[in-house]
């Protein structure tokens, strides 16, 4: 299976999954994102890096229109998923979000059992024909999020009683369970220990064979490890975007260089 995905990756590398043009986001008067142009490729992991508050989460939330829920937020410009404008009036944000899954920066498990947390997406999207299939999806997703062993005996307990890191992995499992085409992950590993992080990174690598993954991370190392493309944001601007290796080894912009070498924040 792995061989195949490698092969696949090679051929589909150049498909553009998401393309953003001149995206502007305002929170009330605050201009939080300025003129962002970016093409995110299919079956690729793209990392967003940049100092805190630069607009990474904001841009992520634009892609699956989660910004719709913030009354003050206003988005301009164009974001296309498979060539279709996601802000088109005919687009149903629900269908969009089913295709573009998301893991949030703050873990937000539902006040339900662990099982129901993970089964929520498959249930609403009708991904399982019966209970057995659902069980399978839940187990697979929890395993993928490196949580299965810790919770397999307490699937019926509330997800809110887990430790911070466990909650975050639960949210990852929940997002994976719906099999989206694109997975947006906002600092998925920030609350995780190195081993869990490694497992999640492995999962991301595996997911890449099927979806496009966008990950926000503060860890340069992680970006280097998991991503093929990296975008660097600074003060609401997308400063530089390119092959991960290039960004980390030969950044074009002085700000990127400064950030990578630890000089600006």
């Amino acid at each position: 299976m792995n061989d195949m995905s490698v092969l696949e990756r090679a051929v589909s590398q150049q498909d553009i999954k998401i393309s953003a043009r001149k995206v502007q986001v305002y929170y009330g008067d605050k201009h939080a994102l300025k003129d962002v142009d970016v093409d995110i490729l299919d079956k690729t992991v793209t990392a967003f890096i940049g100092p805190s508050g630069c607009g990474k989460s904001t841009f992520l939330r634009c892609i699956n229109r989660m910004n719709d829920t913030i009354p003050a937020a206003r988005v301009e410009g164009e974001i296309r998923l498979d060539g279709e404008d996601v802000y088109d009036r005919r687009v149903d944000p629900v269908q969009l979000r089913a295709k573009v899954g998301m893991v949030f920066q703050k873990p937000n498990p539902f006040p339900k059992s662990i099982y129901d947390n993970v089964a929520y997406g498959p249930r609403i999207h009708g991904l399982a024909r019966n209970r057995a299939e659902l069980d399978e999806i839940v187990e697979k997703s929890l395993r993928g999020a490196a949580l299965w062993n810790e919770v397999k005996d307490r699937l019926g307990e509330p997800g809110t009683g887990l430790s911070g890191g466990q909650q975050q992995r639960l949210c990852i499992a929940r997002a994976v369970a719906t099999s989206p085409e694109v997975l947006l992950m906002d600092e998925p590993c920030s609350a995780l220990d190195p081993i869990a992080t490694a497992q999640v990174e492995e999962l991301i690598d595996e997911l890449r064979s099927r979806f496009s993954v966008v990950i926000v991370t503060h860890s340069m190392q992680q970006a280097a490890r998991v991503s093929q493309k990296t975008a660097f944001f600074h003060l609401g601007n997308l400063v530089e975007y390119g092959e991960t290796d290039d960004i980390f080894t030969k950044p074009q912009d002085s700000r990127t260089e400064a950030y990578i070498s630890g000089r600006i924040g």
Binding site: D15, D88, R90, D92, V94, Q95, E181, S209
Partner: protein
């Protein structure tokens, strides 16, 4: 899906599994339909509630707006000294022995003279019908004026007197010639006379402040009845409720939700409080009679007792909504406050309470609204009463007899003269205005406190 044979042209393989965002698949369509339905249920629910409100409002206002207008007759009245001051010494003490009945006859002759002077000729008009044109209140009106200024006796003064309720109703469309024909208390002739007087500008219908400022009047004088005493009584009671129920309710909720250990006792208290909400309001009246009047010796018919009873009655509403609001504040806020070294008391008063404020205010609004419109418990403590004297200023006034707005409504709807039905609706309008004033403040406050986290 990964088991598929490797496609040569990936683009060709994609459409099979990829759906366009612009076209919805079946399931999405169904879910969106469900979403639309759900949303329209919500809109329909609001629509229904608002429609009910509008219908009720229209009913109330169309029935009650008449109470705010009143017809007056202005006639010259010769104050006959022989009748009004038989002793002739203009001594108010002596003159006060003359009853209103005597003044009635003075008015009768003044009226007859006035009608004659205008030269109005109406077929079959009897003396009784001419006399009946004006309210019985008029005599009292004249008497008060004369006693206040005895020198008036012997003079002829121009007087604005209330007309009879039926005639007044005629000018407001409540009474018609057809109904008057059947009515023992008026007649088409009387109405024709009134029409003729109105043409000459002697009868005018104008805005009626007296409705808001007058006290209640007896069954024979609907045109003189007002809600003055009732407004004061309701105001006093609401003050008592506001100053007792809200602090006590909020304090009790804070204790139960934030400090009380969660054990069987607090369960009992919780059940007990929601059960108190189900106790019929009249039972609070029974309690008020037993505890405040018979045991504590507070006076009958006093707003203080009414306020106390209503306080007990509204407490559960306030406590239940406050507790729900406190419960809804996320624990992380409390943690945050405790983490910087705030005491539990401080975390509650500085953070939790402000965040729970919208819910508390909602409970307060609903509780007060309910208290303001309640009659049943007041039945037993003597506030469902005919009270003509205004209570004094608080705090002593709290112990004076008074009625209340809902009581006035209740009383008036029971009276025989149909003119009181209009008054009752008018009183309801006053009550709603009262309620609105009370709510506006709370709603404004609630808006300031509302936020999502």
């Amino acid at each position: 899906m990964t088991d598929l044979p490797m496609p040569q042209n990936p683009a060709a393989a994609q459409p099979a599994q990829k759906s366009s965002l612009l076209s919805q698949d079946d399931r999405t369509r169904r879910r969106n339909a469900a979403e639309k339905r759900f949303r329209s249920y919500g809109a329909a629910a609001i629509g229904l509630a608002l429609a009910a409100l509008v219908v009720l409002m229209i009913t109330i206002i169309s029935a009650g707006s008449g109470a705010f207008r009143q017809t007056y007759l202005s006639i010259p009245v010769a104050l006959n000294a022989e009748q009004l001051d038989p002793e002739g010494n203009r001594d108010p003490a002596e003159m006060s022995k003359v009853l209103t009945l005597r003044y009635g006859s003075v008015l009768d002759s003044a009226l007859a003279a006035a009608v004659e002077n205008t030269g109005i000729q109406i077929e079959g008009l009897s003396d009784r019908e001419i006399k009946g044109l004006i309210s019985r209140e008029a005599a009292a009106q004249v008497r008060n004026r004369v006693l206040a200024d005895p020198e008036l006796v012997g003079q002829t003064i121009e007087l604005d007197v209330l007309v009879n309720g039926r005639v007044d109703g005629y000018f407001k469309g409540r009474v018609t010639m057809a109904s008057a024909a059947r009515d023992a208390n008026t007649s088409p002739e009387q109405l024709m006379l009134a029409d003729a007087l109105a043409e000459r500008g002697m009868l005018v219908t104008r805005f009626n402040w007296n409705f808001v400022t007058n006290p209640d009047a007896s069954d024979q004088r609907p045109e003189a009845a007002g809600v003055g005493v009732a407004i004061l009584g309701s105001l006093y009671m609401m003050l008592v409720v506001l100053f007792l129920a809200v602090p006590i309710g909020v304090a009790a909720s804070i204790y139960l939700e934030e400090f009380a250990p969660k054990n069987r006792w607090t369960d009992i208290i919780e059940v007990n409080i929601s059960n108190l909400a189900a106790v019929p309001s009249i039972v609070f009246g029974i309690l008020g009679l037993a505890a405040f009047i018979n045991f504590a010796g507070l006076p009958q018919s006093a707003p203080i007792v009414g306020g106390l009873v209503l306080t007990l009655m509204t407490l559960p509403t306030i406590i239940i909504s406050t507790r729900a609001a406190l419960k809804a504040v996320p624990p992380s806020i409390r943690d945050a406050a405790l983490g910087v070294g705030a005491s539990r008391m401080q975390s509650v008063f500085h953070h939790v309470l402000p965040l729970a404020m919208p819910g508390i205010l909602t409970g307060t609004i609903i509780g007060l609204a309910q208290a303001l419109g309640e009659t049943a418990p007041l039945l037993l403590i003597g506030m469902v009463a005919f009270v003509r004297e205004f209570p004094g200023a608080p705090p002593e006034g709290l112990f004076d007899p008074a009625s209340a707005l809902p009581v006035q409504v209740y009383n008036w709807t029971q009276r025989a003269d149909p003119a009181f039905i209009e008054r009752a609706s008018g009183a309801i309008i006053v009550l709603l205005v009262f309620l609105l004033c009370m709510n506006l403040l709370a709603i404004w406050l609630r808006r300031r406190f509302e936020r999502r986290w």
